[in-house]
Subunit: 282 residues, 2 copies
Amino acid sequence: MEFWFTERQTRDLGLTFRVKESLWVERTPYQTLAILDTYQYGRMLVLDGAVQTTEADEHIYHEMLTHVPLLIHPRPRRILVVGGGDGGTVREALKHPEVELVELVEIDERVIAAAKRFLPTISSALEDPRARVIVGDGVAHVGSAQGVYDVILVDSTDPVGPAIALFEEPFFASLHRALKADGLFAAQTKTPYLDGALIGQIHHWVAKRFPVACLYTAAIPTYPTGLWSFMVGSKRHPHDRPDEVRAKRLETKYYTPQVHRAAFTLPRAVEEALERAGSTLP
Amino acid sequence: MEFWFTERQTRDLGLTFRVKESLWVERTPYQTLAILDTYQYGRMLVLDGAVQTTEADEHIYHEMLTHVPLLIHPRPRRILVVGGGDGGTVREALKHPEVELVELVEIDERVIAAAKRFLPTISSALEDPRARVIVGDGVAHVGSAQGVYDVILVDSTDPVGPAIALFEEPFFASLHRALKADGLFAAQTKTPYLDGALIGQIHHWVAKRFPVACLYTAAIPTYPTGLWSFMVGSKRHPHDRPDEVRAKRLETKYYTPQVHRAAFTLPRAVEEALERAGSTLP
């Protein structure tokens, strides 16, 4: 007898995983949370039916969300992670010895609890003395901060349920206010193959406020289409000059400075769609 | 009522597509061939249950298999395509005005017939006067050629059924013999995320014979993991210097010279696995 979990990625497309065991399922105040143990990708966090992270490929997403912006910044000391209750982004940020404090603001404390119990290799750093875990609303937290952070990492779920406001224009305005004068942010922005309109809109909002507004990608097998994107918005530091000396000291499985630079090279149709969006949006 | 086709990509993983209509299914002398019309990716060629190409994303695979090697070569005139009966690789090769002749050797004439009938946007160039379609065994064809081709494009199915010999060492030796003194080839080599051992083996066979032996990747949603790889073996011309002038004249949706160069940048773990394979194989 075989068990399969299928994520319906769109109305017409799904990715399906053979499951060893369903380790945990609960309905939290915000979403349905499940931890599945799969044969292909190990343990997996699923929220509202969508794969968030798996033991086998989480390093790709977490390294690329974190090291690209942190190595653009010459001395990132104070970091904010919005969402990301599994702890993988905090773990990567704490690999940087310059970092003095990583605040994590996660709205759903049950995600943190499940990650600590079932995904120890991902959540390990949440107990680090340089990590500060806040259970609360990331939008409100960013909205109340002024010139505080060197780098903000938006590690959100998709724009449904609790994360909708993280994909709206006021949030990008408040990211700008919350960052220091040379601060920068990175945010996950879904896949250019299916979500081009949303990405074009976000790029427009970011480019209105940040002199550097660039999209980069990473190849993540468990996310829809396998090609995932991230937006970086930077007040001063250019996106394509990672600090090679600090990069050498990092232990990574996906990220290298070469990967960093290559990740900003987009397929022609994606590049052109971004340019079109920039010229037609108000 | 909904119809879904699921490709079992591994024993533990599948990709599933909602189907409008099954347009054609037949058992050929070599394999089971199906043409499905899907909601997400349009019409799709399926061989022995594995997705070969879809209307919506075929350009990525065909552009990257073709334009990377053809723009490395300063004057590609005579081209051989091994496999690729759908015609997409021939179509891309014929975009280069320097090309005088593209021979296609496809073992299964029913693939060609189905592509002509159901996938006209992919197969269109098979009727071009510069295209020569040969129904036959690609391995034997390459084995009997000596110093004939500028570029060979190995557009194979996976290493099961009729394509097994295209993933064995003697084939790479005969590719070398079939190429001119400054010739080069590119071959699809599955995904680095699941097929690292096979890729390491092929890289070793190619590097034994070709001074330039490099892996590159493209993000293809309908192939397992979404990250696909290609091996280029070149007798003389370097892999990372595409002809920018000729590139400008090409109509593409994925390929650009920037994409070309970035495609050779591999995730750290893939790079290291290739190096390890190179040092341990006989």
